[in-house]
């Protein structure tokens, strides 16, 4: 298929304004609207690290077929100020339309695309509601161009804005709709009505999906110090936790969070921490503590552009090598890097269950692009693999670190009769008493790595690697994490089909499967959102394979599918 054929089916709508204008919320509501119309959606959100002012931007791409990433070329832009329109003029399709607050329309008279002024502020004033509702008038005008009837528009707007005053929003949308109708704006030819609603699909970003996955696996405590882009997981769970058995705790810092979590798991409850990679840097010593003490904690780690404070609200994949090598000393761990919300949901549930099965720390590695982009997803908890926790049988003297065939010691929590449960950050004997006995030091290290070997035997149960596209092609595009979206989207537009290979499990690394998938490749193109091609380094370490070409983006923005398609085409 060519670019031209495909662009018929993808529509992109931008909503721009200042921080505090409800731009994210408007994007989420619009995405929900299209979900109800049976569309597949991908919504991204970009913003600077400030609370008021600055440019906030929601961008939604929709299609009747699966859509993996938003596109940069827009059909519609709804702007509540002039800056939001000006910044994106170059991204409008030639027949695109900008709906803008009337007061700023004059400033855009040389825009080169059609600009429709809407008296948003006046409409809102008439309706006696807060200015945050201005975007709804734009949504109404847009609904006309999308080919929705006025009745359907009002019904949907009223329903999706129910918690913000459904009727008032429906009235505001009607004003925008009637204005677009009066101007006789062109309508989408494909039409929008009549598609079945996505029954099981929800709109979710990876952070919420991770929260749901952790809950599905029975999380008891989520402990987190706020840090973008992980904060929305804390706020989601704090809200979600009301009335649930889950408790969310916001302690004084990240170091406290992870040390608390180790205490929680010692007491027999399931705990997870979540942070950005900078916060995870603070957790390193305690991550190592979880390793030696065999504490089943889960860490949700979301990358943003570093080093240090870096670009706090932009995305990055520059922490793969840091995260897989977390903690000083040598000990096994699990690191899963999902590439979309559905994978994030499963990664979270599986990570928590595996952590408890093997009594070792597990990490779910995501990034800003995943954490804060919403997409049409089906979260199926029956796909989370359940695992038994090996428990103590109450016989004999309890040894927290008992040597066993598989390296996993029976678990007991304090409060168990006739058991002294001894956990320690020192190297220790089976009972949990500190030791410097060199034989024991070696034996205990081997015990922990035996758990690592057992874990590797189970890799075939999980989607450690996924393959898309033309599996027979000898050209392979290799990637991990959030670029999956842009890459799968780009693959729709490539001049010839290629094999797409995604690596999800970083630790343990599924060397056999990765090697097998790359065995017949003549041209391997690796795509990463970092400078150093960190997956390429891991690939070489584990398989000896060296990719032929590398595409890297490290300007802190996510890949754009159409630009990427061009870049890949040049290497085919």
């Amino acid at each position: 298929m060519t670019t031209q054929e495909h662009s018929q089916t993808v529509r992109t709508i931008g909503i721009g304004g200042a921080a505090g204008d409800g731009i994210r919320e408007a994007g989420l509501r619009l995405t929900e609207l299209f979900n109800r119309l049976g569309y597949q959606s991908f919504l991204s959100f970009s913003y600077p690290s400030i609370i008021r002012g600055g440019h906030n931007f929601s961008r939604l791409s929709i299609s009747k077929e699966k859509i993996y990433s938003d596109h940069s070329e827009m059909d519609i832009l709804i702007a509540v100020n002039a800056e939001s329109a000006r910044l994106h003029l170059g991204e409008m399709k030639p027949d695109g339309i900008i709906f803008i607050e009337q007061a700023y329309a004059e400033e855009l008279k040389d825009a080169g695309v059609r600009v429709i002024p809407i008296p948003m502020a006046d409409f809102v004033k008439e309706a006696n509601v807060r200015p945050i509702a201005r975007t709804t008038t734009g949504l109404g005008a847009f609904a006309f161009t999308a080919g929705l009837s006025l009745e359907k528009t009002k019904e949907l707007i009223s329903s999706i804005f129910q918690d913000y005053g459904g009727d008032i929003n429906a009235t505001l949308a009607e004003k925008g709709y009637l204005l677009a109708e009066k101007l006789n704006l062109p309508k989408w030819q494909e039409g929008t009505e009549g598609s079945p609603a996505n029954e099981k699909a929800i709109i979710t970003d990876a952070n919420k999906a991770i929260g749901k996955g952790l809950l599905a696996a029975g999380l008891d405590f989520y402990i987190s110090y706020p840090m973008t882009p992980a904060s929305s997981l804390l706020t989601f769970l704090a809200k979600e936790a009301v009335g649930e058995k889950l408790k969310t705790i916001q302690p004084e810092d990240e170091i406290s969070a992870i040390n608390m979590a180790i205490g929680v798991t010692y007491a027999g409850k399931k705990a997870a921490v979540g942070t950005a990679t900078g916060g995870f840097a603070l957790m390193q010593e305690a991550f190592s503590f979880a390793g030696i003490s065999e504490s089943p904690i889960v860490a949700v780690v979301s990358q943003r552009q570093g080093p240090a404070t870096g670009v706090p609200t932009n995305t990055s994949q520059s922490d793969l090598q840091f995260v897989i090598h977390s903690g000083h000393g040598e000990f096994p761990r699990i690191v899963i890097a999902p590439g979309d919300s559905e994978e994030a949901f499963l990664a979270a549930g599986n990570a928590l269950n595996l952590a408890w099965k093997y009594q070792m720390p597990a990490i779910i590695l995501v990034d800003k692009q995943l954490s804060e982009s919403s997409q049409t997803s089906v979260l199926d908890s029956s796909k989370i693999i359940q695992n038994e926790v090996k428990k103590w049988n109450n016989e004999g003297e309890y040894h927290r670190y008992q040597f066993t065939e598989d390296g996993v010691s029976p678990f007991a929590a304090p409060g168990t009769k006739n058991a002294a449960v001894k956990l320690t950050s020192y190297e220790h004997d089976e009972f949990g008493i500190a030791t410097e006995n060199t034989e024991l030091v070696k034996k205990m290290t081997d015990k922990r790595f035996k758990k690592g070997e057992m874990r590797e035997k189970e890799l075939s149960l999980y989607d450690t690697v996924k393959v898309y596209g033309d599996e027979k092609s000898d050209t392979v595009v290799l990637f991990w994490g959030s670029p999956k979206g842009a890459i799968l989207e780009a693959s729709k537009y490539l001049k010839k089909p290629v094999k797409l290979v995604q690596i999800l499990w970083m630790e343990p690394f599924d060397t056999d499967r990765v090697s097998k998938e790359l065995a017949n490749a003549k041209n391997i193109i690796i795509i990463e959102g970092n400078h150093n091609s960190q997956l390429a380094a891991l690939l070489r370490e584990k398989t000896g394979v060296v990719p032929n070409h590398k595409i890297n983006r490290y300007d802190s923005k996510p890949f754009d599918p159409m630009e990427l398609a061009k870049e890949i085409d040049e290497l085919l």
């Binding site: 705790i249 406290s256 040390n259 929680v264 304090p414 449960v421 001894k422 950050s425 008493i433 500190a434």
Partner: protein, 256 residues
């Protein structure tokens, strides 16, 4: 009830850490005999430093944390299972240098744990450097010309942060220490006990403290915060021991 383990005690011979251990074992034994404690519900946690070795010598549930982080871990243990009696041993290096913020916030939250501070006024396990509780002018290997820091007053800080039980005892007074430990372990809320523990190798203050401590009078108004603050700030020849403050407030584990 066997409270000892097979671990060889490696504190210096004569170290008051051993008398703290004896007082603690006695406190446990008495509380169990009085029907006030099930030993399986007791968790003895510790940080890193000479004090931290205590976990190896206790046949109870123990949690040997990272340096400076024991109060955070103890908070996690208590919130996960409020039925546990969580006793947290720490040192002046362990909780007033490395992990100071955690101590402050645990007091502020009124987490229902007991914190026993082994105050030897030095980093002993690393061979005698100054801590923030060492006297100004302390000459250790890292401060040959004398430390420039004023010593902090841990009890004053704990009262200011909202600790609901604040006491001081002297390690070489085993019955007195045991009684205060028992009171702290039965307190519902955050209990902080400073245990003066001379380091016989790097900062031997035994001679001074053996003759210059005195107990608070029986009628001291223990629920009066101002009285407690004034008392712990007093500078005088004899160091005051006893329970300065004890009130009831909702605990962290109840509030979350």
């Amino acid at each position: 009830m066997e409270l000892s383990t097979k671990a060889k005690i490696t504190w210096c011979p004569g170290c008051p850490n051993a008398t703290i251990l004896v007082a603690y074992r006695n406190a446990i034994t008495e509380l169990v005999n009085e029907g006030k404690l099930n030993v399986e519900n007791l968790v003895s946690a510790a940080g890193i430093g000479c004090h931290g070795k205590i976990t190896d010598y206790l046949n109870t549930n123990t949690f040997e944390a990272l340096h400076g982080r024991v109060v955070s871990s103890a908070t996690g243990i208590k919130m996960a299972n409020p039925n546990l009696n969580v006793v947290t041993f720490t040192g002046d290096g362990d909780s007033l240098s490395e992990g100071f913020t955690h101590l402050l916030h645990a007091a502020e939250r009124n987490v229902g744990i007991s914190v026993f501070l082994h105050n030897n006024e030095t980093f002993a396990l690393t061979t005698g450097q100054a801590t923030f509780l060492s006297p100004k002018g302390f000459k250790g290997p890292s401060t040959p010309a004398g430390s420039v820091d004023e010593p902090m007053n841990p009890l004053h800080i704990m009262l200011a942060m909202g600790a609901t039980f604040v006491a001081r005892t002297y390690a070489l007074n085993i019955p007195g220490t045991k009684n205060i430990m028992k009171a702290a372990m039965q307190h519902k809320g955050f209990a902080f006990v400073e245990i003066i523990q001379p380091c016989i190798t790097y900062f031997d203050t035994r001679e001074h403290y053996n003759s210059s401590t005195e107990w608070l009078p029986e009628d001291f108004p223990r629920t009066d915060l101002s009285a407690a603050i004034n008392k712990v700030r007093e500078i005088k020849e004899k160091t005051t021991l006893g329970i300065f403050y004890q009130v009831q407030k909702p605990t962290f584990e109840e509030k979350i």
